[in-house]
Structure formats: C-alpha cells, structure tokens
Symmetry: C2
Subunit: 323 residues, 2 copies
C-alpha cells in the first residue's frame, strides 16, 4: 500500500526514542479549572514533560460523551516523546453541539499562547509556532472543523467562517483524526457538515493523518456502530488533500485507545478488539508521534519506517497509505 519506494529501507528511531514505546521524558498531568488565574475558556487536562525545555504542542479533542481524562495513557505516551498535550473538557453530563465544541476549541487555541505558560511545570516552555491538532470520534470531526475554520457549512455553502484566517489564532501544522466520525450516516450529519463526498475536497493545506479502526463500523447487540460506513475514517481520508496518511488498526474497535477501565466498559456497546488495549494505545500514540516528528520536527524517518513496513508497529496496520 505504501507509495514510497520499497527499496528505501528505513527503521524506527532506536533506544529510548522508539515511537511505539514510552518516550524518554517523564511527564505530569494537570487539570486546570476555569477558576485558574490563567482563565482557560474551559476545564483543561494537560500532559507535559517535566524536564526543562521547549516543546511542541498538541491540542486534543475528546469523543462524544467521553471525558478528556479517559485518554490519559494515550496522551501520556505522546507527551513522553516530548510534546505538551492540551485536552479541553467540552462539557459535563450534557453534551454541547459540535459548532459549540469547535468554538470552545478555538478559544482554547487562542488561550494557549498566554495561558499555557502559566500552568506548565518550571522551566518547561511551549513552542506555539509548532502546534498540532487531533481528536477522537466526534472530537475528530471537531478537529477537522476547527482546522477548516468553519462553523457551519450546510448544503455545500460556507456560512460562517469561525476561525479561518483569524490572525489571533496560531496555525496548525498537522492534523490527526483518530477514528473520526462525521455523523450517524451520510444522510444524517449534524452541522458543521464538513464531509462533501468529493475526493480531496477539504479546503486546507495542513498535513493530515487518519487512523481508523477495523471494528468501528460494526454494530454490537442493539447498539448501532460508533463509526458507521460513509461517515468514518475512510471518507475523512478520501477528502484529505496530500500530504495525507492513512492507517487502519484492523483488529481493534472504536474505543480501544481509551484507558483500560473505560475501554472495557464500552466493549459491551461497541465492538472491541481481542488484542491488548495497551498495544493499541502504543500503536496509535506511536503513529501520532511519528507524524508530529515529520510535520512539526522535520524528521520523517519514523513515518517512513511505518509506511514502508507497517509490521514495525505492535499491532496489525492494514492498509497503510501515504499520498
């Protein structure tokens, strides 16, 4: 599936830097409430290295009715490789609309430059010029919508640009959708209706990685699939302009990258993989790190290694595509 020439034999970075293993940085987690003096627009869960230094930043949007803290292990994995991860909590028990989520995510993005330095460990700094965006499930759609800079786009017409070309917002250099979901069916997509069912139509130039799950489109008991055909990873990748990568975690389910407790609970309503959830988290986290290293750090070695030989990952990735 790889588009890179097979004779280019590349291997993963070695020793403590292997993307699929915990990285070399010890990390800490912090919850920042809206009452904090930095005035975050919503409650934030932050995972950051403890070692003195300047780090790139990843904004992470949680899935529908999922807490931002339920991704702790995945986000720790990413941060351990030298990234500051900021995961907003969009709502409590009562979900808000996706446009409202996009708006909150934009407010958090704006807050990063001034607010984040106030909540980071001593001598830990952020490089706001190296900012990436990610999200899982409905949060994946929120991330794409934020990158597209649109609040609502009904009937293929742009209505209210929310964040695009806003000079107050830092620019995203990479976008990663983790099993993103655009609605319950092509005919049932809540606003913003970012999917247009035209290949490569997303009107943005940011490099995109889409990580899909093989079981996300399958129903369990009476529950409909969490990532139905036609509105899931496959279509998000199809509508992404190059450079774009695609990875299918073939034998895992839509919620298998969450922390063990919640992933096991959700396995009663969403088909889950039989393999180790820890390996799933390491694989998803490793892909994210390899992608960030490429498009934030300028080092493509690990991404090339995965694309050239997906078996370097601890779980089956099939297909892997890089255009």
């Amino acid at each position: 599936m790889a588009t890179l020439p097979v004779e280019v034999k590349t291997t993963l970075s070695e020793s403590s830097d292997i993307v699929f293993e915990t990285g070399k940085y010890e990390v800490c987690t912090t919850t920042v409430r809206t009452s904090h003096s930095s005035k975050p627009p919503t409650r934030l869960f932050i995972v950051a290295p403890l070692t003195e230094g300047t780090y790139d930043v990843l904004l992470f949007c949680h899935g529908f009715m999922l807490a931002n803290t339920w991704y702790t292990n995945l986000l720790r994995h990413i941060a351990s490789h030298g990234y500051i991860v900021v995961a907003p909590k969009f709502y409590g028990c009562i979900p808000i609309s996706i446009p409202a989520e996009v708006k909150k995510a934009a407010q958090v993005t704006k807050w990063l430059s001034t607010g984040l330095p106030l909540v980071l460990p001593d001598k830990v700094n952020l490089d706001i010029s190296n900012l990436a965006l990610s999200g899982h499930s409905r949060g994946g759609k929120t991330a794409f919508a934020l990158a597209l800079g649109e609040l609502d786009k009904k009937s293929h017409k742009k209505k209210k640009p929310l964040v695009r070309d806003n000079p107050n917002l830092p620019k995203f250099k990479a976008l990663i959708g983790i099993d993103p979901v655009g609605g319950s069916a092509p005919s049932c997509r809540p606003p913003p209706r970012i999917l247009e069912y035209i290949p490569r139509c997303f009107n943005m130039s940011v490099p995109i990685a889409v990580i899909g799950t093989g079981y996300g489109n399958q129903s369990l008991c009476i529950c409909p699939p969490f990532a139905p055909d036609g509105v899931n990873h496959s279509e998000f990748f199809n509508e992404s302009k190059p450079p774009a990568c695609y990875f299918l975690t073939k034998d895992y389910g839509h919620c298998d990258m969450l922390d063990d407790g919640i992933a096991n609970c959700l396995s009663f309503i969403s088909k889950s993989g039989k393999g180790s959830k820890d390996l799933m988290r390491k694989s998803v986290g490793g892909i994210v790190v390899a992608f960030l290293r490429t498009y934030l750090g300028g080092d493509q070695k690990d991404l090339d290694a995965i694309v050239n030989d997906p078996s370097v990952a601890p779980i089956i990735l099939d297909p892997v595509i890089y255009v």
Copy 2:
C-alpha cells in the same frame, strides 16, 4: 489536483482525433437478438466502426431501469474513435438482481471471442486481448463487481467467486465507472456488497477511471438522489488502487450523459445540469477514449492533457485526480 508535474505541458491529440469531438470513424449500430445464430446470452446493442480494421472492445453495462439503447450518442462517440462497444440489455420491464446482471455480463464477456466476429461489419475485427469494461449508475457497480470477479460478498467475506481467475474469460485491461452507485445508502447496499469503506481495498489491479456527477447526490421534489453520498463515485474512487483517475462533472446530473430525449424526461425526477447535454456526452465520451487510449493503446498523451489542464474539456471537470 493533478499529480503529474505541471511543467509537463501536454495538449490533446489534434485534428480528427480530438477525444472530445466525434472521431474519424464512421460507425453503425446493430441490435443482436438472442435468436441470432451467434447465440448471445442476452440481447445486445453494438456500436462499431465501419472501416476495415481491428479494434479494441468496450463492454458497457446500462443503469437501473435504463435501456442500453438510451446511451446511443455516448456510445457512438466512443466507437467513432475506433472502438467496438457492446452493451448488453440485462432485462426488459422487470429488473433482475445485480448478481444476475454480473452473471449475464460474464456470459457476454465469454461470448465475445466467438460470437462478436459473427455480427460485426465486413472486414471489421476485434482484438479480444484489448478489452475494457464500463457501466453507468447501478451498471457501474455491476462492472466493478464483474472486474472483482465476485457474485456476493456479505460481511466482508468472499462467498462465491463468479468470474475471477476463470481461464475462459478474457481479462479486462481498463475499468470505467460512470457515476457508479453501490446502493441507496451505506447501510442499504444490495449484494454484491463490493464497497468496504476502506481506502484502496478493491482487490484488483486493473486501471480504474471514475467519472462522477456533481448533482447526482441531490434529491429533486420527492425523489431521493440517484447517486447518494457514501455509495457514489467518491467512494468507488476511494476504494480503487492506483492507477486510478477521478473526474467530477461538476455542473451535471446523474442521467445527463444519456440521449437527449430520455435525459430530458429524467430531469423531472433527477437533478439535471443546465448546460448542454451534448457537451456532457462529449466530455464523458472523451474521458473514456483518453483512458482507453492510455491503458489499451499505450498512448497517455490525451489523459495527461486532461489531468494537467482540465479546462481542455468542454465542461467543468473539478476536481480531476490521477494517482
């Protein structure tokens, strides 16, 4: 959108060979009934050059509840460039299932070597080693299913291989889907369920062109769209392995490549473009000819010209993608 380097300036073949104009060959149309001595498995509509020579062959599958003869102008355009087009009639007033269509199409494919020579004009011969396959709407799905060689594939499991690896069948060297439709929704796809919602998953190596229509996914009055989002051109292209081309006829509808009379009738139930239907037919026909010239004739000049500069076509093609 083009993946070819822009500095490669190519132009369409000139004079009487321009793909978007009627070609240099005078053609005739023939209907061959099942009672004919060549024993065709179903009634056939054949369009062939009259000039002495040996020509490549295109098998064309009509759409749901559409007659094979309603594509006469489109098929004449293609044949005028030196191709023999064979369009089976799959049924009369009562449609058959898609697996039954695939089976009939396979029978016609088998018949070509022995039967077609008996019904062609004097001194007109076929080159069965240069065979291509195409289809419109549901017939596009039938064509893909025939090329995939599968009768039914429920739940991602191959059940009954129908034609694949059948040594009695000639091999298709090119596959062209004209606004192909896989069902009424991702959740409502009749067998064979060839769409799997995984990028590049079609298990075949034949070069593929997908021509979509911009209005096919729109409903008109109380009629649902003829080519709904999630099961239309976009997904067929997404699941095609390279080499694959994609062309969106942005301002035209699902039935606008049919002959004028029927296209105008259908415009009451399927959203139609305001532009000239003749230009739509010339554009679709021209793309087909350029694709056949590339993968049957080994001459990529016209396809490159369209990909490098889609404005060479008489209608708007946007996007045009070649991977």
